[in-house]
Symmetry: C2
Subunit: 351 residues, 2 copies
């Protein structure tokens, strides 16, 4: 990079002012005459001065804190991956003297989300990272953040406001399109079973609509005559899952049975298939939960479409740290992360 480290002192000397003044223009904290200001700015430019972040952090014992608002999680489920990413980035942030906290909410309970939000607002953080599930409440929340001049980053999915500092997540529509291609793969497909969560039937905060749309568009374009069957299950009740799938699969099928699920819980279907000892299915799902990967290995699932939720979360934290420490404007606002296709041959190298 730059050869000789030129310091704030060099700038001060060259501009004929004191470091104090240079520091003031550096941080835009006024109290500087237009003349000095311009001169300093010019000298900085000429000399190619870059502040030493570490000296800066050392000197200003600022206590930044970032808080991440995400759904509650249990070991092995989808959000635990995000939490893992946050945990990993915590160390990096700590090196910059920044604390990273997590506030979780019940993704099925808007009230709990609102509570989380007020808690966050009260703690008056330097930055917020948020995985939104409740549209209206989130919009209200981020408006308050903006009002308090607190930058926020969306992860997983984002809303239609424009004030967010950055977004990290998968392109949902395209992931559905891709999913359809992988499920069908040029085969002769007559019927596809789409297994869905009952809750989603009422359109109540379903984060996978876009994905389903992408899937159906692909089918429309490539398999216009294929029938799609929606099977609604209650994920918390294995008996219900079995009953609903029994019903759906009652009618015999001559070729492969094509099954897909748009959230991370394809493992529920796998459990059913394993219990009933049903073979001859082509099953595709999303996300690398431990159980899903196991199903990949055992051959119950042929492919999984995955995103590195941990990396997304970590990137979000890093972006926020950079913004807080360096005032970096963020390289890209919308970061659509890659979609990984996993099968039994490459999944072992995914973690």
């Amino acid at each position: 990079m730059e050869q000789t480290k030129i310091t704030i002192n060099d700038v001060a000397k060259a501009a004929g002012v004191s470091k104090g003044t240079v520091d003031r223009v550096l941080h835009d904290r006024g109290e500087v005459s237009r003349k000095s200001r311009e001169k300093v700015l010019r000298v900085i430019e000429e000399l190619g001065y870059k502040p030493n972040v570490y000296a800066s952090i050392l000197a200003s014992q600022k206590k930044h804190t970032i808080v991440c608002v995400i759904p509650e999680y249990s070991p092995g489920d989808f959000w635990s991956l995000t939490a893992k990413g946050i945990d990993e980035s915590r160390e990096t942030a700590f090196r910059y003297g920044i604390t990273v906290n997590m506030v979780t909410y019940d993704q099925y309970d808007a009230e709990s989300f609102r509570n989380a939000c007020s808690e966050v607002l009260e703690s008056n953080p330097s930055g917020v990272i948020i995985a939104p599930m409740f549209r209206m409440d989130t919009l209200k929340f981020v408006k308050e953040l903006s009002a308090k001049n607190i930058p926020y980053i969306y992860i997983d999915s984002k809303l239609e406001d424009e004030d967010y500092f950055a977004y990290f997540g998968m392109p949902m529509y395209q992931s559905g399109y891709l999913c359809a291609d992988i499920l069908t793969g040029g085969r002769d497909v007559r019927k596809v079973y789409i297994v869905r969560i009952e809750r989603d039937k009422m359109g109540y905060s379903d984060p996978t609509v876009a994905r389903r749309t992408g899937f159906l568009d692909y089918m429309m374009n490539h398999y216009p005559d294929t029938e799609t069957v929606n099977v609604f299950i209650n994920p918390k009740d294995p008996k219900d899952v079995a009953a609903k799938l029994d019903e759906a699969f009652a009618e015999p099928c001559d070729g492969l049975r094509y099954i897909v699920m748009f959230n991370s819980r394809i493992h529920l279907v796998v459990d059913y298939l394993r219990n009933r000892d049903i073979g001859g299915c082509r099953v595709v799902g999303f996300d690398v939960l431990e159980k899903n990967v196991a199903a990949l290995r055992s051959g119950h699932v042929q492919a999984l479409i995955a995103q590195h939720s941990d990396r997304q979360a970590a990137s979000a934290v890093t972006a926020m740290v950079d913004r807080l420490v360096l005032g970096s404007p963020v390289v890209r606002k919308d970061n659509y992360t890659q979609m990984d296709i996993l099968n039994c041959y490459n999944c072992d190298y995914y973690m």
Copy 2:
């Protein structure tokens, strides 16, 4: 993380010694009585003291430099990706006051590699990152590095010595296995064309042998009766490529023609197919060169198996930086990075 930052002064006080002494035990630079040493160590443990990296860097104006030894590259080819990763990590390293240099060599010329090596040794770097192509010369080189106590990291591929600090690369054998699965995909495959570089015929430093072996093993296991045809081409001569492929494809083929290449140059085949306007092929290759991705989009290639070479290189630099700055022992020595399956639907999100 830790709540109150406890400093070297706290440790010194608690241990009844001066910071000088604490620093000495911290960095193992002797000159400390067993007694003080043990006491300090115990206090550090008890208080959970963590050194402040930045203060440390600030104070010790050490001038570390990392040098990366990789093959020469032109825009768009495989090694330019690695170079890109190195460039990106340069900024991070710079923040730690570490300079990252690059020394390139001609991957077809062992002599140029040896020259690069001596250049590196003379510059006396703090750490070396190396993409090895010439086995014997590399082994000699790393032996000298070890002798000078300079840590080195392998990227892309590694050798059989044990002194390397870390390795970042793709599992080659498995990538071949995976490739075969993607190429065949349960179809009825009679014949597969393996396009190879002429140079590799003499077994002269072919980095893809393991990959080919994986591929052939898969075929043996799943398609024992399928014929494989090796086509050797001279990559620098399009006329030769055309001639050899013409010859290979002379015999008509009733179904799909299956074509694969184990290095990054599947685009050579694509150029040929496009010129001759040949369709009805299933083509699988490796690595995300611009040209290869274009072929994915245009439908001339159905799948690409990819690795994030840029990320690998960046990880290598980061690992070295951590080692140099923090003395971190490296989390994992062998880092087999994931194999990404790209098709026309997810490739746009890969960069």
